[in-house]
């Protein structure tokens, strides 16, 4: 059996991914207290002040993550950004054949994928857009509760909420595929130890695998 491993995520990427997970969970928890009547006890008096303080601290951490990503691992930051933003016709083919795979395990029709498959790219894009909305609207709610134009503040309240609904849907699906779905959960190790078995890399991300392979050959030749 082939035990060879391919490096997929750097230490910085894995650390920041974990940090994002924890910050997102904290923000969702301290935000939900405002919307679930069962949790209303956490909005009142001192508990309310504390939950708002925790929400803000977690927000600062969340906002720092893309900056840290850029500072700590510039080459991967650039590569990820480039790959997430590159879309072509094959992505539509993925959307057509992916449901069958996720319900039956049949990979027929799934086009060869790059480092991130279409679903992963879409997830990253949705989270990035939601991140931008969270930061922009959150800062208005935080530092401009007085003096801001009412329409802007009202819009921010609603968009912040909408960004939560969209990003948490993506979050649930992401966690489900990573730790629960019987056909995909075994690949979550890439975010834990940073590697993926070579055999999986070749099967799941052939374009990325080929690119890496060429790169390694070039390095070996040099």
């Amino acid at each position: 059996m082939n035990e060879a491993k391919v490096i997929r995520f750097s230490a910085a990427e894995r650390f920041l991914h974990l940090l994002y997970f924890l910050a997102f969970l904290t923000l969702a928890g301290t935000g939900l207290v405002l919307y679930l009547p069962q949790l209303q006890g956490y909005t009142l008096a001192e508990a309310g002040q504390l939950s708002r303080l925790i929400h803000r601290l977690a927000a600062v951490i969340l906002m720092a993550i893309p900056i840290l990503y850029f500072l700590l691992d510039r080459s991967n930051f650039r590569e990820s950004l480039r790959k997430i933003l590159s879309w072509n016709r094959a992505d539509w083919a993925w959307f057509r054949s992916a449901p069958r795979f996720y319900w039956t395990g049949d990979r027929t029709g799934i086009p060869p994928q790059d480092k991130f498959n279409t679903g992963q790219k879409l997830h990253a894009l949705i989270q990035a857009v939601c991140f931008a909305v969270f930061v922009a609207t959150g800062l208005i709610l935080w530092i401009w509760p007085q003096g801001s134009p009412p329409w802007l503040f009202r819009l921010s309240v609603i968009l912040h909420d909408l960004a939560f609904l969209i990003s948490s849907s993506g979050f649930l699906l992401h966690v489900y595929l990573a730790v629960i779905h019987p056909l995909t959960r075994q690949h979550a190790g890439a975010m834990v130890d940073g590697t993926i078995p070579e055999i999986d890399a070749r099967e799941l991300y052939p374009l990325w695998y080929k690119e890496r392979h060429k790169e390694m050959e070039r390095r070996r030749a040099a």
Binding site: G48, Q49, L53, P145, R154, S169, L172
Partner: protein, 273 residues
């Protein structure tokens, strides 16, 4: 039974007794102000000023015209602040006003921005942590629930502010408007009968509402629709969507587990051969 306040601005003489009475009864400290060349004082509501008289200088037929307007919480029936308040600190009281429970307020300031009349004020202790409390006119809840009339009503020397059953005040307000119009005040009107489901504070105004710029917006309903859309449509729909999504994932798990179990067994059987 719904109570209300009717303020006849054609009778108001801008003595500010209501301002002082409000501060006295509610134990709100006086604020230092500056002379800016007008009688209006203070220039704005604040966490410790829940009502004040606005002096509006307008023009009518080439002559200057001075209008007085008493500003405070309108105690709306369909109150945008009540819709927007995430902690339940702001509530519609059965006696017809919007009550405010200070202990429940977490200082988010949503009510400040959703109020179409711009009434609630945020008392910010720390802008960074967000430690704050909102405050606004309570319609003297502590007096009204004990059978007393609000402090501003009691103090008003010309009797421009009345407190009573809303239905009766509505009738007397309409009668007063008819009387004013008969006297030649053609712009006289009653404000607050239908706005936002009916205001708990109504006005007899000698001039059309549009003259009271800033104080009376043309479309106060808009922010109520927005707050209602957010709380009554977006949030429940979002919650239902998330629950359906989670159920979909559970179904997917059940289906896929069953199929892969079958496959593993097949594999094992093959291995046994």
């Amino acid at each position: 039974m719904a109570f209300a306040i009717l303020q006849d601005m054609s009778k108001c003489m801008a003595c500010k007794a209501c301002q002082v009475a409000c501060k006295e009864w509610n134990e709100l400290p006086a604020v230092e102000t500056t002379n800016e060349g007008g009688y209006e004082n203070p220039r704005d509501l604040s966490p410790t000023t829940w009502t004040r008289i606005q002096f509006l200088e307008t023009e009518a037929e080439g002559a200057p015209r001075w209008l007085f307007y008493k500003q405070q919480c309108m105690h709306c029936t369909n109150a945008p602040c009540v819709e927007a308040c995430p902690t339940g600190a702001l509530k519609n009281h059965p006696l017809g006003f919007v009550s405010f429970e200070r202990d429940l307020c977490n200082g988010c300031g949503y009510c400040v921005k959703f109020c179409p009349y711009g009434i609630p004020r945020l008392d910010t202790e720390n802008a960074l942590t967000g430690r704050a409390k909102v405050s606004k006119c309570t319609l003297c809840e502590d007096r009204v629930t004990q059978g007393e009339i609000p402090a501003c009503v009691k103090a008003c020397p010309p009797g421009a502010i009345q407190f009573g059953e809303r239905k009766e005040l509505l009738a007397s307000g309409k009668a007063r408007v008819a009387q004013l119009q008969a006297q030649g005040v053609s712009g006289a009107n009653l404000y607050g009968e239908k706005e936002l489901g009916g205001l708990g504070v109504m006005y007899v105004l000698p001039d059309p509402p549009s003259t009271y710029k800033g104080a009376l917006p043309a479309d106060p309903e808009r922010s109520w629709w927005l707050a209602s859309f957010w709380q009554r449509i977006l949030q429940p729909a979002g919650a239902i969507g998330l629950v359906l999504g989670a159920l979909g994932l559970a179904l997917n798990f059940a289906v896929v587990s069953r199929r892969t179990r079958g496959r593993n067994q097949a594999g094992r059987e093959k291995g046994d051969e």
